[in-house]
């Protein structure tokens, strides 16, 4: 029983972390059609900046988000203008081309990160990451709790933004029908750039959140990417709620199934769930 509660708690926290990576990824996929394989590499860089803010200047990684988030927003917008827009002008359907483009960027960034920060795995250590909290029968590390809070805040803000602001609604319109959105007077170029900027900003925050739970190194982006893909495909493109639910499902499937089977096989259960879902609903869980 205690084991199960523990697994459920961990599953929720891990799931939230996947979800926060997923919402940004899904946002740009929906609004611009770009499948950004560099998304989790951006998160890894966010994790490194948070780590080094602490290691070099003693600034808490969570506090460093004040700098990381706006900085990454600008990077994202710049990325859209410099690379995505030229691509969109060249190719009819941007999806697969963007996978290749962003994989290339991810590889470049990975090598740069290795050169600058070395390939050694890092783990953020602060006062609260070493603390342990008792929640009923379960124990949670302070790092995981803080990560969970960051994730919830980011997901909540993004949801609010998409539902309640003009720009957010414009992005949703863009997801449904780009040409129609343009005809209603939405500045597609600007909205897409902002969407990319926001995705990068959430990736930075996600990276910092994940760095409080897991060790990371430049190559970590691949495994994070796999989970992000999985969560977004499961949840559906352009839906914050769907992706969040999918993230929670993914987290819970892994932690609960590893109670009964070896950990290595737990991911396989997750892949199985994904394939089953796709057999029934080829566009993911969300209703579109």
């Amino acid at each position: 029983m205690t084991g199960l509660v523990q697994a459920l708690t961990t599953g929720v926290l891990v799931g939230l972390a996947y979800a926060v990576l997923g919402v940004g990824f899904s946002l740009t996929w929906g609004a611009t059609g770009v499948i950004n394989a560099a998304h989790t590499m951006v998160a890894v860089i966010g994790a490194y900046l948070g780590y080094h803010a602490l290691a070099w200047w003693g600034i808490d990684p969570v506090l460093a988000l004040v700098g990381i988030v706006p900085l990454f927003f600008l990077f994202g917008w710049g990325f859209f203008e410099a690379l995505v827009r030229p691509l969109k002008q060249k190719v009819r359907v941007v999806g697969l081309a963007s996978v290749v483009l962003t994989l290339g960027i991810a590889l470049v960034l990975e090598s740069f990160t290795t050169l600058v920060f070395s390939a050694n795995p890092r783990l953020v250590r602060t006062e609260y990451t070493s603390m342990s909290f008792v929640l009923g029968p379960a124990r949670v590390s302070g790092g995981a709790l803080v990560a969970g809070v960051i994730s919830l805040v980011v997901i909540g803000l993004l949801y609010w933004f998409r539902q309640s602001t003009y720009l957010g609604r414009a992005l949703r319109a863009l997801e449904q029908e780009p040409e129609g959105a343009a005809l209603t007077g939405i500045d597609v170029r600007r909205a897409s750039g902002i969407a990319m900027g926001m995705a990068f900003a959430t990736a930075g925050a996600a990276g910092v959140a994940l760095s409080l739970i897991y060790t990371f190194s430049p190559t970590t982006f691949v495994s994070w990417l796999v989970f992000t893909f999985l969560v977004v495909i499961l949840g559906g493109v352009g839906t914050v709620v769907g992706v969040t639910v999918a993230g929670l499902i993914a987290g819970l499937v892994v932690t609960v199934s590893s109670l009964v089977i070896p950990f290595a096989w737990a991911n396989l259960v997750l892949f199985g769930v994904l394939i089953l879902v796709l057999l029934v609903r080829p566009t993911g869980l969300a209703r579109r």
Binding site: K88, L96, V100, I105, T114, L274
Partner: protein, 317 residues
């Protein structure tokens, strides 16, 4: 544009095949034979990948799964029972085809990026299964005996084996290209719904292409493991391999077998060269930048078709 006639192409393929097979007799060094091995391995898998990814447009990002299946089949049978990969690689190809057949049905229902991402996930699932399967002892690594005692002989055998696989891939790809299957796949690539309404059995053709592509990739993987003294788990299944295969085909152009072939030769040789000249990290950066340049400035590859009027030039944001 006039296409080269059927006969011309076959004569060309035969001539190149004979040339490639005889090349080691001109006194190639061990090093150049091993470079040639890498080039031909990648050319073989890129041509094989293209049977699905290029002809039908279903771009798999999980072909390392089939490389891995082929590789481990021959490696295990060689190290445990001493069976030659020249025979067992065909078993590896069969196994790869079988796996493709099983995962093909759910995967091929998905389109474009969904298909790409799911094949990536499937390849990871396959690697989890193979590495953790009890009784195979893959996780602790496998030592693979080399084909012959002397390095020259070893490299020579490997060279000729991969050359044979490479030739098989080219011949199969070329046959499919001009067959009814190839025409059906092209119809699927252009517009799957229209193809289906015209009576093209889309599911069957996609499955056929996927299975053949997987089998050929498995075959090449079977020979690849023979060239490694030691198989590190995860090495054979790496996502990098899957991505590289896609890049080679994209770089060369996907409409015909010759595109991936040229892409593989240029990129593999280029990488080898860069590794030596500027070191691994810098080479990786250039390699990533190459992906970006290729996709931005020549989205149809080195020898891709010119965009036809009106079709490829719809407006985007």
């Amino acid at each position: 544009m006039r296409r080269p006639s059927n006969r011309t192409t076959w004569i060309l393929i035969a001539a190149v095949a004979v040339g490639v097979a005889l090349l080691p007799f001109t006194g190639m060094s061990v090093y150049s034979m091993s470079v040639a091995f890498t080039v031909m391995f990648y050319a073989a898998v890129a041509v094989a990948w293209n049977i699905l990814g290029g002809y039908s447009g279903y771009e798999s990002f999980g072909h390392s799964a089939f490389v891995g299946i082929g590789a481990y089949t021959t490696a295990i049978l060689l190290s445990e029972f001493g069976l030659s990969p020249l025979l067992t690689s065909f078993l590896g190809a069969t196994l790869a085809a079988l796996v493709a057949f099983i995962v093909g049905y759910p995967c091929l229902r998905l389109r474009g990026p969904y298909f790409a991402l799911v094949t990536l996930v499937v390849s990871l699932a396959v690697s989890v299964v193979v590495v953790n399967l009890p009784g195979l002892n893959v996780a602790s690594g496998i030592f693979v005996p080399s084909p012959a005692g002397s390095p020259v002989m070893t490299r020579f055998i490997l060279y000729e084996s991969i050359a044979a696989v490479f030739l098989i891939c080219v011949v199969v790809a070329r046959i499919i290209e001009r067959s009814q299957l190839g025409i059906g796949l092209a119809a699927i690539r252009e517009d799957e719904e229209v193809a289906a309404t015209q009576g093209v059995p889309t599911t069957r053709l996609k499955m056929a292409a996927f299975v053949v592509s997987a089998a050929l990739t498995g075959l090449a993987g079977g020979i690849l493991s023979w060239s490694r003294g030691y198989l590190d788990p995860g090495d054979m299944f790496s996502v990098d391999t899957s991505v590289l295969i896609v890049l080679l085909a994209l770089f060369g152009g996907r409409r015909s077998w010759i595109g991936p072939l040229i892409g593989a030769v240029v990129v593999t040789l280029g990488r080898e060269f860069l590794f030596i000249v500027i070191g691994e990290d810098a080479a990786q950066i250039l390699y990533g930048a190459l992906l970006v340049v290729v996709i931005l400035f020549m989205p149809h590859g080195l020898i891709g078709p010119r965009p036809r009027l009106g079709v490829e030039q719809e407006v985007a944001a």
